[in-house]
């Protein structure tokens, strides 16, 4: 079971984990006032872990409960915790930074909504 801070936030439906862009954050020199066409590395970007999936519930109220549980973990200031993909991979010190839902809640056999959740390890 995947989890964030021990909470089963995504288990109601299918979801997949991926990593965001990694490596150097490179800035063009002209933006730094250095002139020329070159660029300068600014250091490694922070780690992002992206979870894309679908919350699923038999009822509309049940789906709202799942959505509310997600939003309740968006804190200011961020409160880092352990993110686990349920398949043996874990990331420590991750902060839940954004929750984005697809434009529509779907109602077929069940109620569901697709989402993208982004976690970041702030340096």
């Amino acid at each position: 079971m995947s989890s964030f801070k021990g909470l089963d936030l995504f288990g109601s439906g299918p979801h997949r984990f991926s990593l965001g862009r990694q490596g150097q954050h490179v800035v063009p020199d002209y933006l730094l006032g250095l002139g020329g066409a070159g660029s300068t590395p600014q250091g490694l970007v922070e780690l992002d872990v992206v979870v894309k999936g679908r919350l699923v519930s038999a009822t509309e109220s049940g789906l709202w409960a799942l959505r509310d549980a997600e939003v309740a973990q968006l804190l200011d200031p961020p409160d880092p915790g352990l993110l686990a993909d349920g398949r043996g991979r874990e990331w420590t010190g991750m902060s839940f930074i954004t929750w984005t839902e697809e434009p529509r809640v779907e109602k077929g056999r069940v109620w569901s909504v697709a989402y993208t959740a982004v976690f970041r390890r702030f340096e």
């Binding site: 299918p14 979801h15 679908r54 398949r87 077929g108 056999r109």
Partner: protein, 137 residues
Amino acid sequence: MLVLNPRRVVFAGTEWPGVTLVAVDREATRVAVEWGDAGPHPTFADVTEQRVGVRVVIELGDEDVGSPVPGAAGTLSFHTSRSGSEGGRRRVSMSAVVTGVSHELSLKRGAVRTIDLVAVSADGAADPVTLADTGAE
């Protein structure tokens, strides 16, 4: 649903004589399919939008200039006809909107009019097609 030679086909209060076939087709217009991290097969699928299309085929015995027009709305109803028997008859009804009218002329079938409609749900959740047993009414 396919009904051959339905009895008393009525649309918006007007009876359509000579109907030889009513086909009610159901099509998924939006399907949600999701995969997990465990393998190649989807672990979730749901039809979140669907469309009930109706095709009415009428054999015309003569010229007819009174065909329905696209956009016309009303209740479409008809009775199933089971081998001419009165027992087990069912009444099918739905709110529907005409989306097309076309004609075909052939030596085998003569003049045939095909009317296409889309069934409309009252609230988006209820099935637009209702079935009622009418027995020998």
